[in-house]
Structure formats: C-alpha cells, structure tokens
Amino acid sequence: MTSVTVAAAGRKTRRSGAHAVRRKLLVHGVQVAVLVVVLGFWQLYVGSDSRKIILYGVPSGIVGRLKEWITVGTAVGSLGDQIRVTLEEALLGFLIGTVLGIVFGLAMGRVRFLADVFGPFIKVLNSIPRIVLGSVFVLAFGLGLESKVMLVIVLVFFGVFFNAFQGAREVDRNLIANARILGASRWQATRQVVLPSAFTWIVASLHVAFGFALIGAIVGEFIGGLQGLGVLIKTAQGTFDANGVWAAMVIMGAVALAAEWLITRLEKRLLRWRPPQLSGPDL
C-alpha cells in the first residue's frame, strides 16, 4: 500500500515539473505573440507614410533612432550621459524621500502628539498637485541637479510616509509590550519591533515610489533642464521627432524594469522571514 502511494507521488512530482516548464513556455510564448501583434500592426499601419511617421512614429524608426543615439550620440550629448543624469536625480531624490518618509511616518505613527500637530499640514500638502512645485524648484534652485532632486523628494515622500505611518500604527501591541518587558528601551522597541514590522508596508510603497521618482526627474527636466532623458524627449518633441520620444520611453522602460527587479530582490531579502501566504498570483 505504502509503496504504491510513494510511486504515485513520485510520478506526480515529475509530471508537475514538466508541467511547470510547459506553462512557463506558454506564458512567454503568448507574451512574445502580444508584442509581435502590437508592433506589427503599428508598423503596417504607419508604413512609410511620412506624415504618419511624424504623428505616430514607427517601430523600425524607433530602433533606428536608438542605434543612432548609441553610436553617434544625441542632440544634447552622449546617450549614456543622459541616462546617468536622469538616474542620478531619480535615485538621489528617491533615497532622501524614502528615508524622510520612513522617519516622519514612524515618528508620527508612534507619537500621538506629533500626529495631532502635523496631521493637517501633511493632508494639505498631499492634496495639492505637487508636480506644479517643479516650476517653483526650477526658479529657486536653477536648471541643475538640485531642482529635480527636490521635485523627486516631494513626489516620493508622501507615498512612503503614509505607508510607514500606517505600518507603525498597525504594529501588534503585544510584540511591543513583550519587547519592553524583556528589557527593551523605547528606542530599542522602535528600532527592533516597530521598524521591521512596518517594513512590510514600507517596502510595498517603494515600487510606486520609484515610479514617482522617475516621473519627478523627467518632468523636472521637462520644465527646465540642460541634460537628461526629459530634455531628450523635449528636444525630440520640438523637432517633430515622434520616433525620438518613443525611443526615450523605451530607455526609461528598461531603467524602470531594472529598478523594479532590484526592489523586488530587496523585498525578498527583507521579508524572507514571512511565511509564503499569498493566495493571488505574483507580478
């Protein structure tokens, strides 16, 4: 009886292994097909009609523009420099904004007095369309790095702040009480109990926050900048170069994807203590 069960289980595992491979192939196959259909339709629709190329761009033209940027360089300098400038602004702002968001969020989530005092200010600041602050920052801090970093900080801060705030408020009271009874000071309890517990919430906000960081950097460059992907897009738009706009977007997509991958790695590392409990699919 036992041997029969074991044998059956063994076959089942092998089969589900093959099944997993087939499934993966199917998923990737459909993904490629979707891409081919969309790009193919686009290519065929626009064709070599020069008026349509100016309006919509065309996949083959976008590839050509990318090649040109890589080999010859762009109108505002080498492509590598543009990516570096934008990334520098986005990352710097992202780091500062995230740290500020975590610090303020945890502080206000733990200290009632702070929440009461600063709550209304935060709500007001959050409700205004912050992207407009870009103009203010460009006027105040000039066309260089600082104005973009400021804009990114403002965009990143709120998302992280609200998640950290909520995370700090949802910490299991027993965990804190237990740590305090075991001898933890208030500060130790905050660092070793509240912070890790809120990390689940904070890390979730980082995905969205990095998207906002890229938006902030690009829009900042749009409003007033000398270098960067935003400037590249603006220049392309100014010269009716739809292919250039699309090409810059492809680059941003690649950057965002890489960042997303890194954040997911970080998430897995920080939250590896968690039991696997997701009931829905991973993205």
């Binding site: 027993n174 965990l175 009480a177 305090r180 075991l182 001898g183 890790p196 203590w273």
Partner: protein, 262 residues
Amino acid sequence: MRKDFRSPAGEIYTALRDVDLTVGAGEFCAVVGPTGCGKSTTLTLVSGMERATAGWVRVAGQDVSGITKGVGFMFQTDAILPWKNVLENVAAGPRYRGVDKRTAYADARDWIRRVGLAGFEDRYPHQLSGGMRKRVALAQNLINEPRILLMDEPFSALDVQTRALMSNELLGLWDLTHPAVVFVTHDLEEAIALADKVVVMTAGPGGTVKAEFPIDLPRPRVVQEIRFEPEFVDLYHRVWETLRAEVDIAYSRTQSPAGVTR
C-alpha cells in the same frame, strides 16, 4: 487596588475592585475566574504596562511605576518576533540589556536546549508549531531569570496533549530558577495541577479575590496523572464549589443586555 478603564465614549468601567493578593517569592500562584473578571488586568498591573487607578502594586517591596524590573510575561497569543529566528528571539532580552552578542547567544543556546528546541535555532517562528513557539516564549522569558513570571493563559491555544506536556515542562523549568509565578487560566484542572495556591476571582465588572486555596499536593508532580489522585479530586470539588457560583453570575450577565461584557 482598583482599576478603572475609560471607554472611548467616556464611561468608566471598573475592571478590578479591592483586589488584595500577595504572592510569596518562588510561589506558584494560579488565578482562576469567569471570563471578564479581570484576571488579565491583574497581570498587566503587576507588569507595569498599566497603572492601578487606586491602591498600589509592589514587587519585592518596590512600588510599580513603569515596566517592572525582573518580571517576565507570557502572553496568550504569540509575542515572539516573527522576523527573528529562534536564537535571536531567545537572546533578545540579554541583547536589549547590552550583554555582548557572544555571551547572549551562548546563554540562549543553553535555554533553547533546556526547553527542548535544540536544533531549531535558525528556524523562524512561522516554521514552528504552536507548542514550539510557546517554548521559545518561555526560554525568552526565563533567560532573563525573572523574579516573577506572569502567564496569561499561555497554553490556551494548544491542543490538550501538547498542553499537558507543556505544563509538565513548565514545572521542570520553574524548578531551575524558581521565580514566583502568577498563572492566569480558566482551566481549574490546570490550575490545581500546577500551583501552590489557587486564587478564585469573582465575576466582573469589578472583580475581586473571592477565596484562596492552598494546594499542598506533593512535588514533583506529573500533570497528566495527578488528576487521578484522591486529594486532587477533593481539592477540585472544593474549589469548583466556589468558582461555580461566579461562573453562573458571569454567564447570566452575558445574557442580559444591561450586563457589561468585555
């Protein structure tokens, strides 16, 4: 002592009234009573997590203000940190107090062995069974060598067999450092099997001590078997007589809408 809670609506709820309870050094005291009688509140007052509204709580002659020193607390639900493994969890107390890592971890390994978890040092809490998590909590408290160990229905979430096993081990571990224990439970059998003294509380709100029963059963005891002893049965009858009236009162209060339940 007396403890009032103010509800968000501003009403005052008296959880405890005129509670007078003394637990001697190294004494194992079990507290039983119907739901909502303020058993758990008593523990939070001793631990210093809450302050008494009137009266005083003293531990080793010192008035309690802020978290009591030299106290351990086992919660009804798990309170070990889910993002730390067993070793880090058990070593947490010494680490908080500034003991260096090597000493704290060596100490923690000792206690992990004593509670029977050797080999599980690098597991995370979610990889352990309910009983094993209780062992971690026990080791985490005992490593601090508390003078008083407060236990709030610590084994109520466990199945009956695991619970009896854990009770037995608790007695064995208690013998090592011999702290005073205040063990809150609703299970009279468990209370008598473990304790030197069983305290019965009256139904809440405004619960107070109704009676104290010394339990002079010989030690060491085997929790699973002691309940068949004639002395045990006799004690059980006597304590139950006292407790039953309160359980009835508590039950009737949950039935009437005027009764305040927690």
